[in-house]
Symmetry: C2
Subunit: 350 residues, 2 copies
Amino acid sequence: MRLFGLGLFVSASVFAAAPAIAQTPASGPIDVPAKTIQVPTTVSPQLQKIIAMPLRSNWNLLPKTGEEWKPVADAGAAALVKNVPGMLERLKVKVEKTTIDGVRAYIVTPETVAPENRNRQLIHMHGGCYVLNPGEAGLPEAIFMAGFGHIKVISVDYRMPPEASFPAALDDGITVWKAALKTTNPKNMAIFGTSAGGALTLEMVLKAKELGLPLPGAIAPGTPMSDVTKVGDTFYTNAMLDNVLVSPDGFCDAGAKVYANGRDLKDPMLSPVYGDMTGFPPTILTSGTRDLLLSNTVRVHRKLRQAGVEAQLQVYEGMSHAHYIRDDTAPESKEVFEEIQGFFDKHLGK
Amino acid sequence: MRLFGLGLFVSASVFAAAPAIAQTPASGPIDVPAKTIQVPTTVSPQLQKIIAMPLRSNWNLLPKTGEEWKPVADAGAAALVKNVPGMLERLKVKVEKTTIDGVRAYIVTPETVAPENRNRQLIHMHGGCYVLNPGEAGLPEAIFMAGFGHIKVISVDYRMPPEASFPAALDDGITVWKAALKTTNPKNMAIFGTSAGGALTLEMVLKAKELGLPLPGAIAPGTPMSDVTKVGDTFYTNAMLDNVLVSPDGFCDAGAKVYANGRDLKDPMLSPVYGDMTGFPPTILTSGTRDLLLSNTVRVHRKLRQAGVEAQLQVYEGMSHAHYIRDDTAPESKEVFEEIQGFFDKHLGK
């Protein structure tokens, strides 16, 4: 045995003639050439079909007011709701429209509630850049969760522009949370949602902390819009590759701006990655390798871990933004929601 | 309240005039235009410096024999070992060279072993595409782990081409594992490593299962070369962006092929993602958003979870392949190894 010392290392000059594979210091941007990216063979045929779709048409449509967004949102919703009846049938879930203290919502119930979930319920905040997926169009994720998780879900059909802007969506979520607290132990409840719904999930916990309300037993923000200031590496590295959001300069950014209505976009109630996550409940995060918001997701994960919060990260091969709420027959969708339900089961009271 | 039925959904034709943001079916590859990617502002100054480095020089150097690799490996090692004394000093770690049942190894010991780690030790398999980082050049990760984790590490200086090829590296790892079993409870030990070392970590567990040897209490494969058949989405999506591995057609692939020495690259002892992970110990995986092997990492994570294994995924903002073992003064490096040590502490016996 010998102890290391500075003098024991061989000088580099001995090897000067050999070609080193090494990096020399520099600073600055990197020029990535154009690439043709194939559909991966490492995912299910259903997910391959979703990944093979072209970039979202009109991804660079940038409506500037709630009034301009309305017809866009309605057209998108009309296309989406056509899928809902099939989902309900396949996943054996029923949906009832309701109003909770003045807030529009849907009660989403599986045919069979698992015994361990009898005294539990989940609050769902849908996605859509704060301007899309009104009404039934916001339901697919809630239906997936109820169906794969065998658990009751309240899906909040929160106000969006032009009906109302910031902080209307958050306020509606908090109203429903307060109402839920009257009937159910907070430790038996979780909040979840994807994209803007993932951000709203985080914002609701920040707001509940601020208001001194009890926190849920767990949360599941999926690929959250945790930073709407265009900061985050994958906004750029995955641009023109993520076929859903496509670019940080696309429709989603435009939607968030309309909702913000002049509010500083760095406000933690719009960009929750800047909030104080101390004391957050156990959190499971979901994203994909092609997701424009992969950075927004992993930054929240790191921030939670740095605050000592139990936080699980799930990143799925090949998925762009929120691909996991497209097709309930894709095994990856089932896997995402069963992972979330497993996490909830571990952390929620009964 | 009303119950949903098929007839309740509004026909899409009503909205035909509005511009929908929607995707139309198609199939096939996606053409991603050339991009200039800035260094992210969301990481530490130290990590920014690492990310700002240009693509590794000679990344497309493709030696075809062990003899051709030797001078390349020696030149790289000479450059790397110059950093070791500083790391040892800053992290208060000492290194002793030894031989364990004929296998070269280093005993890496922190000045202060944490009380909970007194009866624990870790086995380290270094990275380098099975051909690089001989001798002291393989030590940085072991030093980081010992220093940040306050725990004893045995780093295996396994045989590589031209000295020996497949399965020499794995055999040397197993020899050290068997020797360690004579002195230490397997549940008090973990195996870890990055890149080829991450693959070897997984291969050692597969091999231990095959041989009926006791398994470690936990493992930490970092950005493992879990698939050397060039399958995995980020091989392509992160090509020419990851400044370390650069391309699936680069030096690392060439190195793995030389080590494989004609063996089928899909053999789980070379591409462990194809192995049976049932019964694996708790596993913590580490990668980065720019990592060429992000897919190789998340695919292992999913496979472990599908096998019911407790598995944690850590993905760090902006990191290319193995960026976390470059600079011990980067807060992200400390974070990576403290997370791993926290995971080990949770799962190892005392």
